[in-house]
């Protein structure tokens, strides 16, 4: 069974906010709600790095564990969805979420927040009628056999969405082709590894090493 995950390759992300716009457009979220955001660390400095974040569809989801109404559920694909009819807007999911994904249309006295909204991996929500589903939860592209629009529209293909295994494979391959010692996580400070200057053997050895490491990532899934 596929396990759906997002992965953002920060070496590629150029902070164009295309994913944010694509998401907003696909899901027509309420005013003030932005399911995806791009965060830039060290903005304006030489080592500036951007990353696109939304709900990461955690395997053992903290939001799910604390929700007083138990309105979350995980699809067979590992997508974390919630039932807005049941949600009471208590904010607990937001307090628990590591990524600040859940959002609310308002923030009022007496804890009036309205219904929680978050990224659905473009998988809609628990509503039979497609029109109502679209209005309440946004697009259900998964039902149409499509991946989330944010990843589909990413201009640099930094943001990947799909089966964890496939996404990791793509990423691992990139890491190998980048070909420097620190693999995924350093374009600076690498000692060797100018792509094209490596011998076949070096490439193979590196690929092997990296494959093992990336394997660790997905072994946890």
């Amino acid at each position: 069974m596929a396990k759906m995950k997002f992965l953002c390759d920060s070496e590629r992300c150029i902070e164009c906010n295309g994913c944010v716009t694509a998401c907003k457009n696909a899901n027509e979220t309420e005013w003030g709600i932005q399911r995806r955001r791009v965060v830039t660390i060290d903005d304006g400095e030489p080592n500036e790095t951007s990353i696109s974040v939304a709900c990461m569809h955690c395997t053992d989801a903290p939001c799910m564990a604390v929700c007083p109404t138990d309105c979350f559920y995980q699809t067979d694909d590992g997508i974390v969805l919630h039932d807005k009819d049941l949600c009471i807007g208590c904010g607990y999911c937001l307090f628990a979420c590591p990524f600040g994904a859940p959002q609310f249309p308002k923030q009022g006295a007496f804890g009036e927040r309205g219904k929680m909204d978050k990224c659905t991996f473009c998988a809609g929500g628990p509503e039979e009628d497609p029109a109502k589903q679209k209005a309440k939860y946004g697009a259900n592209r998964i039902a149409e056999g499509k991946l989330p629009l944010c990843a589909e529209m990413c201009s640099t293909k930094a943001l990947l969405a799909g089966d964890a295994q496939t996404v990791s494979d793509i990423f691992r391959e990139r890491v190998v082709y980048r070909g420097h010692k620190d693999g995924a996580w350093s374009s600076l400070d690498s000692e060797k590894a100018v792509p094209g200057e490596m011998s076949q053997q070096q490439m193979a050895a590196l690929a092997d090493e990296l494959a093992v490491d990336a394997g660790n990532i997905i072994a946890k899934a």
Partner: protein
């Protein structure tokens, strides 16, 4: 191998570090597979797999960056405290509350089975002493009813999901939990006002004195065969007053922080307020059961004072002898109607 490379690469710049963000994020989400209860555990897993402690520290310390999103705290990438809160709430507060409330209930059942209801030791005289005026009674029931509403709705918010949907179905659960949140969040401030008025009004009655010390030494009458002396309020009642005052103010304070998220409270502030609120309120509920027990089935004649304002002379003598001495001149002769009720053997009186 990779990990070593990173940890020992002293020239690794901060920028180099942040390029691993994606991996940290992935790591974090994968780290949530299995039962990861403590944030520490999650941290360890991530550290073990991807990067050095320095890197992890910088992201999980809540490193903030620039974002166009206007959402609160959206510049922060990872908030590990969420996991910590989840752990404390679900693994400590939640079972802890059950133990406290269950333990309290169990103890009271045991007390009832062994001691039974504390009866009046002499027959009623039918002569009534004014104990609580209208204002005091109204205030008491105002606080009691709002308290119980908050207790039931609060318990539902914490425990309801474990059994109500299963036994009563989706629709009942949906309405009940929405009602609970509504009542809890709106009655909370109402209760707070009542509690403050009560504290101010009854403060003066509740200073401990030597009589109360002796009352406690005799276990309120359980130790020895003589009922200990007491003034208007006995040691136990004063104890309950102070428990309610102290725990109640903490519950009210933390409750207001949760109820009015309008002053820039962060997620972490809300987590802290929730843990304090949950923990202390559950303790308060556990203690309140003792008060409710004594006021109702635990001792004969106590409830009528808070219902009608008057207590029987016999009850006053038995439970609050010093106070009785003070007020015995003002005793009301039984009115015809009340007299016939008492003569018929106190039927209808709790």
């Amino acid at each position: 191998m990779m990990i070593k490379t990173i940890q020992h690469n002293s020239r690794l710049t901060a920028g180099g570090c942040f390029t691993v963000l994606l991996l940290a994020l992935t790591a974090f989400m994968f780290a949530f597979s299995g039962d990861v209860s403590a944030a520490d555990q999650a941290t360890e897993k991530v550290q073990g797999n991807f990067a050095g402690a320095d890197y992890w520290r910088s992201v999980s310390d809540g490193t903030e960056g620039y974002t166009t999103s206007q959402g609160a705290e959206h510049g922060q990438l990872i908030n590990v405290d969420g996991e910590r809160w989840r752990h404390w709430r679900n693994k400590w507060i939640s079972p802890g509350g059950l133990i406290a409330i269950g333990g309290s209930l169990g103890l009271l059942v045991l007390v009832y089975l062994t001691l039974g209801c504390m009866k009046l030791d002499k027959p009623r005289t039918g002569r009534l002493v004014l104990r609580w005026g209208l204002f005091d009674r109204a205030m008491h029931w105002f606080v009691a009813i709002t308290f119980l509403t908050l207790a039931f709705s609060g318990l539902n918010i914490l425990y309801g999901k474990h059994f109500i949907p299963e036994y009563f179905g989706y629709d009942i659960w949906k309405n009940l939990i929405a009602l609970s949140k509504f009542l809890h969040n709106y009655i909370g401030p109402v209760f707070s006002v009542g509690l403050l008025v009560m504290i101010v009004r009854w403060f003066g009655h509740n200073f401990f004195n030597m009589t109360d010390l002796k009352w406690f030494i005799q276990g309120g009458g359980l130790i020895g065969n003589k009922h200990p002396s007491a003034g208007f309020l006995n040691g136990g009642e004063k104890g309950w007053f102070w428990a309610l005052t102290i725990l109640g103010l903490v519950v009210v304070g933390s409750g207001l922080v949760l109820d009015f998220p309008l002053f820039g409270q962060t997620r972490n502030d809300m987590q802290t307020a929730n843990l304090i609120h949950g923990g202390v309120s559950l303790l308060l509920v556990a203690v309140s059961l003792g008060h409710i027990y004594i006021g109702t089935i635990g001792s004969e004649g106590a409830l009528e004072g808070m219902k009608t304002g008057y207590v029987d002379e016999t009850w006053a003598k038995q439970h609050h002898d010093l106070w009785y001495e003070e007020v015995k001149d003002q005793i009301k002769e039984p009115a015809g109607e009340e007299k016939s009720a008492t003569e018929k053997g106190n039927t209808g009186r709790a």
